[in-house]
Symmetry: C2
Subunit: 354 residues, 2 copies
Amino acid sequence: MKKHNFSAGPCILPEEVLKKASEAILNFNGDNLSLIEISHRSKPFVAVMDKAQKLVLELLNLEDKGYKVLFLQGGASTQFLMTAYNFLNKKAAYLNTGTWSSKAIKEAKLFGDLVEVASSKDNNFTYIPKEFEIPVDADYFHCTSNNTIYGTQLKEFPTTDVPMICDMSSDIFSRQLDFSRFDLIYAGAQKNMGPAGTTLVVIKESLLENVQRQVPSMLNYKTHIDKDSMFNTPAVFAVYVSMLTLEWLKDIGGIEFIEKVNNKKAELLYNEIDRNPLFKGVVNKEDRSTMNTTFVLTDESLKAQFDTMCADAGISGINGHRSVGGYRASMYNALPLYSVQALVDVMQELERNN
Amino acid sequence: MKKHNFSAGPCILPEEVLKKASEAILNFNGDNLSLIEISHRSKPFVAVMDKAQKLVLELLNLEDKGYKVLFLQGGASTQFLMTAYNFLNKKAAYLNTGTWSSKAIKEAKLFGDLVEVASSKDNNFTYIPKEFEIPVDADYFHCTSNNTIYGTQLKEFPTTDVPMICDMSSDIFSRQLDFSRFDLIYAGAQKNMGPAGTTLVVIKESLLENVQRQVPSMLNYKTHIDKDSMFNTPAVFAVYVSMLTLEWLKDIGGIEFIEKVNNKKAELLYNEIDRNPLFKGVVNKEDRSTMNTTFVLTDESLKAQFDTMCADAGISGINGHRSVGGYRASMYNALPLYSVQALVDVMQELERNN
C-alpha cells in the first residue's frame, strides 16, 4: 500500500517524477549511461540545468525582470550566512517568526549589526507579528515566508524600500505572490521542488552592486551567476529531479492551479481540527500555514490509540517537530487531497470511538 | 550497448549500485516510500548515514584513531575555504600541483598568509615537485593527492610535524596509503565514491583545538561533528549511493584489492601509450596518475579518425579537459579492465590503419 506521506521534508514528490528519476539512474536520455555517471558539462545535463532555471522564472512570473536562478548546495542553512556575507555591510533588519528565522539571525550577526524588527518568540512563535517598522537605512530586510516547525505563514509582506530577502523553503511554488517584490528568494529543494541536496536561489542581478566585502568564491553569488550555476559540479541528481517536479507543476497548471488545491487541503484539515472536540490547532487562526498544520489532542491519553489508527491507515510522518511536540501534517504540493481526507477520516473515527 | 565510460567525474559507478539506487527511488527499505521522500531523521536514513561513516573508517583503516566522518555539501570547492576558515590562523603551506591546488590557494589567501612550498606551474603542471620544505610554524600543509586535469599523482607524501590536509577528490579509495598521517582528508564524492552532491570529510577530532576564529555554523567542522553530520538536511540520495558504493568496494576486497585492479588498468593503458608511435603521454612518467591518464596523438591529423573509432567502440568521455586538450582516460574504481582493453584495442587498430 502506498503511504499517505505527510513528512515535513524531505517529503512527498509526484509519483511520475519518482518514476522518471528512477529510470534516469539506469539510462538517462536514451544514451545508455546513468544520469549520475555523466559529466555535468555534457550537453544533456547542461540542458537540464537550463530548463530548470527557465521553469523557475516562468512559474514565478519573473521572466525578463532581471532575475537569475541558481541551484546551489548547502541548504537554506548556507543561505543564512551567504546572504549576510554578501549583503550585510552595516545593519540588516530581520523578522523573527521561528526556528529558521532565529538561525538566520544568529549567522548574520557575525557580519554586522542586526535589528530584530519584531519577534513572536514571546508566545512560542504561534503567531506572525504584524506591526513593525523596517529601518530605511537597513542593508536589507529578511523574513521567512512559512514556518515549517510551528505552522505559521506570512499572508502579507511588508512594503519597504530596502531590498527584501526571503527564505521560502517550505512554501515556494505553493501560492501566488508578486515575487518581483523580492530581491533574493532562497529555498531548500526538499519541500515543493525536489529531493534534499540542492537549494534554489532567485536573485535580482542588480543586488550584486551592493556587495562591498571580499567574499570567498563559493559563497559569492556573483561567482555562481557568472558561471550559470556551474562554477563547480552541481548536485546533478537533485537538480534533475527538481526540473522534473517543476515540469510536473507547469503541466498541471502552475502555481495558480496548485494554490487552489493547497487551499482545499488546508480547509479540509483545519475545518476538522476546529470541529472535532478531540483536536485543537496550535497557532493563531489567521496565521495558519497552508503547508504545515500543527495540532494537538485535547486529551493526551488518546495518543496511543490515534497513532495506531493513523499507522493502520497508512498515514506517515505526522509527528510534530521534536522542539514542539503534538502533530504536524505537512501538505506540500505533491500531497493529494485524498491523503488529507484519509487523515480526516481517522480523526472522525477517533471521535466516534471515544 | 553499455558504454565504456571514461568520464572524469561525475563518472562510472558500479552497475549493482545503480540498480539499487534506482529501486530505492521507488521503494526504499521495503517501506513503500521513496528514499527521497522520507525524513532524513527517520530510522532507515539515520542507519544509512551511520553505515556510510563506519564504512569510510573501515576502508581507510582509521577505526578507533580519533577520526570523524562527515558527508557535507558544496564540493571540494567549499572545502578550499572551510579548511582555511577553520585552521588558517597565521600562515599555511600549500603545494601547487595543478588547477585544484591553485584554487585552494586562492581561497585560503582570504584568511591568512600563504607559503607556496613548491609549484609545477613552470611546466604546465606536468610533474610533481619533490624537493620542498614545509615551514615548521605553518598552521598546516595542504596538498592535492591526484590532479584530475593534468593526470599527475603524488606517490609519496612529505614527512612533517604540522597538520597535513589533503584534497583526495580524485583518488580516494583507489590505493593503500597510511591515511592516519593526514589530519583532514576531503573528497568530492563524484569520482570513486558516488554521485555529485556530497563531499566526504575525514577529520582528526583533535584538530578542532586549533580553531581560533569565529566560524559561521555551516562552515564550522565542529557544528557537523557535534551533530553526526546531520546538523541540517544532508544530501540524502548522494549519501545513500555513496554508502552503496563503499559497500560494493568492501565486498570485492576493499582498497587492497581495487588497488591491484587499478594498477593493472593503468599499466595496460600507459604501456600502450609508450609502445604505440601514434600516441604520447603528457606528464612525467614517475608522476603518472593511476586514475587519470592524459595523452595526445603524435599526428594531430588522425584526430577525426581516432574519435570516430572510439565512438564506434562505445568509448565515452575521453576528451581532455578544456584547459589542457588532447585526451584523458579516467579509470576510476568502477571502470572494468575490459573497458581499458577496448580503448587499447582502438589505439592498436588506429596504428594498423595508418
